[in-house]
């Protein structure tokens, strides 16, 4: 089952706390490597809070955990906290003004049981090869 969604990124208070000094910690992964989904969308995907999902866009793929959105209803809209995971899939197009397009990216979400959620270290170090 694949769900087509509109992906947006933004701040959350947990992500903000983890950003302050603990950017390489498990706390950061718990706060950042998630996607908030509308409960109806989760039902369609047959997943629960904590299920591992893959998010694919034209710009990349990332593995994160789904959680039931505390800000629902927003059917068809998927939210990832800003950070290293979100940035694996956002649209880099700066539309001629220097600012990448962090919101409004069409994506495909599907359950990915057994796949690994990467740590910030693993993602960062993949850039230094």
């Amino acid at each position: 089952m694949v769900l087509k969604c509109n992906l947006i990124t933004g701040r959350t208070i947990d992500q903000g706390r983890a950003y302050e000094g603990s950017k390489l910690s498990d706390e950061m992964t718990r706060a950042g490597a998630i996607v908030e989904l509308d409960p109806d969308d989760m039902a369609e995907l047959h997943i629960m809070t904590g299920s591992v999902v893959s998010i694919k866009t034209d710009f990349g793929e990332v593995i994160v955990r789904a959680i039931k959105s505390p800000n629902a209803p927003h059917k068809g809209v998927a939210f990832i906290p800003m950070g290293i995971w979100a940035n694996q899939v956002i649209n880099e197009d700066t539309t001629g003004i220097g600012t990448p397009s962090f919101k409004g990216i069409s994506c495909n979400i599907e359950p990915a049981p057994g796949k690994k959620v990467l740590s910030p270290q693993e993602i960062a170090e993949s850039f230094k090869s």
Binding site: L24, A72, V77, M82, N87, I90, T94, T95, G98, P100
Partner: protein, 438 residues
């Protein structure tokens, strides 16, 4: 028990609210033991200065693919050489450091003919472009606290990103002309999600994601007496009319906006239409508009860059004088086009915050990083400097989101003598560059 010193009127160096009523207690081991008045994120930031495992403790350089500790002089020398040898270096960050360090950064950029950019280019850069296009009517947060009776947050979720904004400046606080606080104010939130801020609102309008421009334009149309369709951007006509009536009848209205407008399709054009809506509203009432600046001193980066170079961000010094062109000289553009051949990152973490392609290029070029904490960017740096935390371990000036400058206190020493302030590190690199060039 040893002596505990109390510092009052400290300023929180996290978000653009720059709360200046923080009380800190520091013990004789140079640790912050108590934080009063700050929100959960601010409190965390103050305490993070104690957590030495998360801090960069000594200058480091990359040898045989691994970061190894070194002395400050070697690291300065290495950084200066990288900048001198580069044809098109990038100096980026600056939003979480104080104004003095920002000023030295500009001098260094001029000296090495660099691209100079700050984090506005990924957040409120579009706001600056819109303000250059159509202007903006602003006010200080103090004015808002004293007078505002209709408060709007559009594409902004301060309950999560600026937690004390509503209670200290805009909504819940009692003001000179708003003695009953929230009882005398209306809170309107426009957002595609029912955010924590929306849950507090008197009126919540759920706009379809990416349709902000349409909604703002429809509101302007209603204000001018024009007909609009039955539904715009997922919002019913009656709701839009009701909203515009509230806005028209405000005594003093304020429209705060965030990344929901600047990073959504349309970007600066969304801000254009928000500014013009506020302009139109001023025919009926008093309205102002204010961007919700994220980093505590990103506003300062724009202010300091502007009074020193003439431009707020995305500046190119390659010809020896400053040129300005967001979209051409912005950090992400020169990284995505693989044009820059070295970078110095200060008080910022682009590996966490830039699109993947930009990070990939940062991983391939010589990278100098100045940061108090270990971050994904320090992990892949080639020369890494530990820095004192500005506003906690170093004093300086920060500019609040309304461009009011506030002096930040130093309340404790950095963890060890290897750790200099951002300004000292930049000054040393600048001096070394000049020396090596002679």
């Amino acid at each position: 028990m040893g002596e505990i010193k109390e510092y009052t009127d400290c300023v929180c160096p996290f978000c653009g609210s720059l709360c200046d009523d923080i009380v800190l207690k520091v013990d004789e081991n140079n640790e912050i033991v108590e934080v009063e008045n700050a929100c959960t994120i601010g409190t965390r930031k103050f305490f993070s200065s104690n957590e030495l495992d998360d801090r960069v403790q000594a200058p480091m350089i990359r040898k045989n693919g691994k970061l190894v500790e070194t002395d400050i002089e070697t690291a300065i020398n290495e950084a200066a050489k990288i900048l001198i040898n580069a044809d098109y270096p990038l100096l980026y960050g600056f939003s979480s450091t104080e104004a003095g360090a920002q000023a030295v950064g500009i001098e260094l950029a001029e000296e090495v003919g660099a691209i100079l950019d700050n984090t506005a280019s990924v957040c409120h850069g579009p706001t600056i472009l819109a303000e250059q296009d159509v202007g903006a009517s602003g006010a200080t947060l103090g004015e808002i606290k004293a007078r505002a009776d209709v408060i709007m947050y559009v594409g902004s979720n301060p309950a999560n990103a600026h937690p004390r904004h509503l209670s200290r400046y805009s909504t819940f606080i009692r003001g000179y002309f708003r003695e009953k606080g929230i009882m005398e104010r209306k809170l309107i939130v426009i957002d595609p999600r029912y955010t924590d801020t929306a849950k507090l609102a008197t009126d919540f309008v759920q706009v379809q994601q990416g349709k902000d421009f349409e909604l703002l334009s429809a509101m302007r149309a209603v204000l001018k007496g024009a007909e609009i369709p039955e539904e715009v951007a997922g919002v019913k006509k009656e709701k839009i009319i009701e909203l515009v009536n509230i806005m028209k009848n405000a005594q003093f209205g304020v429209l705060f906006f965030g990344m929901g407008l600047t990073q959504t399709i349309g970007k600066h054009r969304n801000i254009d239409s928000a500014v013009l809506l506020v302009k139109d509203l001023n025919s009926f009432s008093k309205w102002i508009i204010l961007p919700m600046r994220g980093h505590w001193n990103v506003c300062g980066a724009n202010v300091v860059f502007t009074w020193q170079t003439g431009y707020p961000y995305s500046i190119n010094f390659a010809r020896g004088y400053p040129r300005y062109n967001p979209g051409e000289f912005s950090a992400n553009d020169i990284l995505i086009r693989k044009e820059t051949d070295a970078a110095l990152i200060i008080s910022s973490d682009p590996i966490s915050n830039f699109p993947k392609v930009s990070s990939e290029w940062l991983g391939k070029i010589p990278l100098i990083v100045i940061d108090p904490h270990k971050t994904p960017t320090t992990l892949i740096g080639d020369v890494v400097f530990p820095a004192a935390m500005a506003g906690i371990e170093a004093e300086g000036t920060g500019y609040r989101m309304d461009a009011v400058p506030i002096r930040m206190k130093k309340v404790k020493q950095p963890p060890n003598e290897n750790i200099l302030t951002d300004k000292e590190i930049l000054e040393k690199i600048l001096k070394k560059v000049k020396e090596l060039r002679k």
